[in-house]
């Protein structure tokens, strides 16, 4: 039997702040199978980001063991960890984390450079990824010339371009309005439909609704882990759009009445 995609045992992460110890995680056991969509919820400071960073090999646990695809991350060198991040994981951050003064296309091409993909192939794949997130024609725009939702879509394209099996998103809609959030979630759900594994950190129940499994953290421990039927973001988007159009029509009608 294939090992689980993500397998964490007794993961703890302690920060040293002067004389104090901050226990961000206190023994988390977690297994995630390929193809699932998992939302990690919890109040601010409960350890969501810490957990995601460890899962994404950006940070190391103070204690416990972590296997990704059956491979023990704890014994890997910095270079091997970078390789895992590059090949296995695509990140989407709350603050987008795009390179400024660099075009959307170059931002998306960047991960491919570290995979040693040649210039022509890089261009081709980055263009395809941008098209997949609906940003065709925007490839030469710099982040400062794009809206928040568009920037986040560039970030998603960057997470997609290496064809990594896991997408990890830490508050991907945190900086976006409701409608744009639906759009972004729609794209992410589409990826799950294609067989990718999505792990998303959020403190909004709405957003967690799109996942098929919701894990809740409190004070560095998992206090709830439940499966659910996910809401379809595309339908939700259609509903919100229809509501908005109706409201607009009503507004226009009222304006017309007043004018006559």
């Amino acid at each position: 039997m294939a090992p689980p995609l993500i397998e964490m045992q007794d993961i703890s992460r302690t920060y040293v702040m002067g004389d104090n110890l901050v226990h961000a995680l206190r023994g988390v056991d977690l297994t995630i199978e390929t193809g699932s969509s998992v939302a990690i919820m919890g109040t601010s400071g409960s350890g969501k980001s810490t957990l995601m960073n460890i899962m994404g090999c950006l940070d190391q646990p103070t204690r416990g063991s972590y296997r990704i695809n059956g491979k023990n991350v704890g014994v890997m060198s910095k270079s091997q960890l970078a390789d895992i991040r590059g090949r296995m994981i695509g990140f989407v951050f709350q603050s987008f984390n795009l390179l400024s003064r660099t075009s959307a296309l170059e931002n998306v091409e960047m991960p491919l450079m570290y995979q040693g993909v040649s210039g022509g192939k890089r261009h081709e794949r980055a263009m395809a990824a941008l098209e997949a997130v609906g940003l065709k024609g925007r490839e030469d725009h710099h982040p400062s010339q794009l809206s928040g939702g568009q920037q986040q879509r560039v970030a998603i394209a960057r997470a997609l371009v290496c064809e990594a099996p896991i997408i990890m998103a830490d508050e991907p809609t945190g900086a976006l309005d409701t409608k744009t959030s639906f759009e972004v979630m729609g794209i992410l759900q589409g990826l799950v439909a294609q067989g990718k594994t999505l792990i998303i950190v959020t403190h909004e129940a709405d957003i967690a609704g799109y996942a098929s499994r919701v894990i809740t953290l409190r004070d560095g421990l998992i206090i709830e882990d439940k499966a659910q039927a996910p809401v379809d973001a595309a339908k939700e988007l259609a509903r919100v759009t229809a509501e908005k159009e109706a409201a607009d029509r009503a507004l226009a009608a009222r304006k017309g009445e007043r004018a006559s």
Binding site: G56, K78, A82, R85, F93, N97, Y114, G116, S118
Partner: protein, 409 residues
């Protein structure tokens, strides 16, 4: 990551901060400029000394009429003729045992012509030993023998440049040329000597000195309007010979003890040596400037790269998050500092080239710019780039991905 891509990224990153990049380069520009000026001027000075030795040998003095170069009573240096042909005969008599040859010369620039073309060149009247003292032989025909040299024959030995100008590729031997309108027969072409400190060595015509006086000057005269080359038997006799020549001439010119010399004796080897010494001092100074500038330049590069690493901590974090390995990050910053240093080196090369050319014309030596110099400069610039870029690059590579990502600038 592919090195070409890394290079492109580096150039782009440097281009984003043009002003900062340029200011950082300045230290390297001046450092490399000084290195090049130093090497080039050292070689120029050495070449000049060698040139003097080659053309005159180490044991030749130059005697000329007129007072020492002091202004006032003597009324214009070199203006008065004071060396007589009798003086020359006295020097040639063997009275001073260290003297081997005494060679009178007279020179002027004048127009010369063949059937086909004409040319402006330097014409020297002298005697046969001139060729011995200058260690200069003919490659076609022959230089004149003692009898011809002492005669008033209308024969000429010409330099290669003159031969080419007047006869193109045809053989000039036996051909007629006109010097100052007078017909001469070409009897020899001198071996090529190339460029010297005073220009083209081969742009010259040698004729017997008597002929010179009669055809190019006002006829045979009591005074020699030119210089006398005095060669010595052995090296190391310059001092004593100069003293003896001076004593002999003072006696013959009946000068009192407190009268100034009415002639001038120069030792070209000594002169060249003095110039070489002064050049060496300049080169030492330049070496110091180069070392200091390169050090400052290097520290500048290190500092800028360090600032750049701090400023771009988040960028480094992002790159690491998407799969950049420590070695990728290190290479990126190292290549950046290398490019910075290389461009600085290139500008320094231009600066050094200009400075070397200026010094060459200032000191009157041949302008030298061997490719090796440029190579050295580039190696030094590269060394500075790598040497001083290494520390910031390692710092960047050692950053922790999550710390770098969270960094607030």
């Amino acid at each position: 990551m592919n090195i070409f891509t890394t290079f492109k990224l580096a150039v782009r990153a440097l281009w984003r901060n043009k002003v900062r990049t340029f200011l950082t380069m300045l230290g390297i520009v001046f450092g490399i400029g000084a290195v090049i000026a130093m090497v080039a001027s050292g070689q120029g000075a050495q070449a000049q000394v060698k040139e003097v030795f080659n053309s005159l040998g180490t044991n030749v003095l130059i005697l000329s009429g007129g007072a020492q170069r002091s202004f006032g009573a003597s009324g214009g240096a070199g203006s008065r003729q004071s060396l007589t042909w009798d003086d020359i005969a006295a020097l040639q008599s063997g009275e001073i045992p260290t003297i081997k040859y005494v060679v009178p010369t007279m020179s002027t620039r004048t127009q010369v012509a063949s059937e086909e073309s004409n040319w402006q060149t330097s014409v020297t009247g002298t005697i046969s030993t001139w060729f011995t003292v200058r260690n200069w032989e003919a490659t076609q025909g022959a230089v004149f023998d003692e009898d011809t040299g002492n005669s008033s024959a209308k024969v000429a030995v010409i330099g290669q440049t003159v031969a080419t100008q007047l006869f193109a590729s045809a053989s000039p031997i036996g051909q007629a040329i006109r010097i100052n309108g007078q017909p001469f027969e070409v009897i020899g072409v001198l071996a090529v000597k190339g460029q010297g400190p005073r220009g083209d060595n081969d742009d010259i015509i040698i004729i017997p000195i008597k002929t010179y006086q009669q055809k190019l000057d006002k006829g045979l005269a009591k005074y020699l309007k030119g210089e006398v080359l005095i060669s010595m038997v052995e090296d190391g006799q310059a001092e004593t010979t100069m003293a003896k020549v001076s004593a002999l001439l003072r006696d013959r010119h009946k000068l009192d003890a407190n009268d100034e010399d009415d002639f001038r004796i120069r030792n070209p080897a000594e002169f060249a040596k003095a110039q070489q010494d002064s050049t060496e001092r300049i080169a030492t100074l330049l070496a110091l400037v180069a070392a200091v500038s390169l050090l400052i330049g290097g520290i500048g590069v290190m500092n800028i790269m360090r600032v750049s690493v701090i400023e771009r901590t988040r960028e480094i974090g992002i790159r690491m998050a998407v799969g950049a390995k420590p070695i990728d990050v290190m290479t990126q910053f190292l290549v950046e500092s290398l490019v910075l240093a290389a461009i600085g080196g290139l500008l320094g090369l231009a600066l050094g080239y200009g400075a070397a050319q200026y010094m060459a014309s200032y000191f009157g030596w041949k302008f030298f710019f061997p490719a090796a110099t440029a190579g050295i400069a580039f190696a030094v610039a590269g060394g500075v780039g790598v040497g001083f870029g290494l520390y910031p690059a390692i710092r960047a590579a050692q950053l922790d991905p999550i710390t770098a990502l969270r960094y607030e600038s």
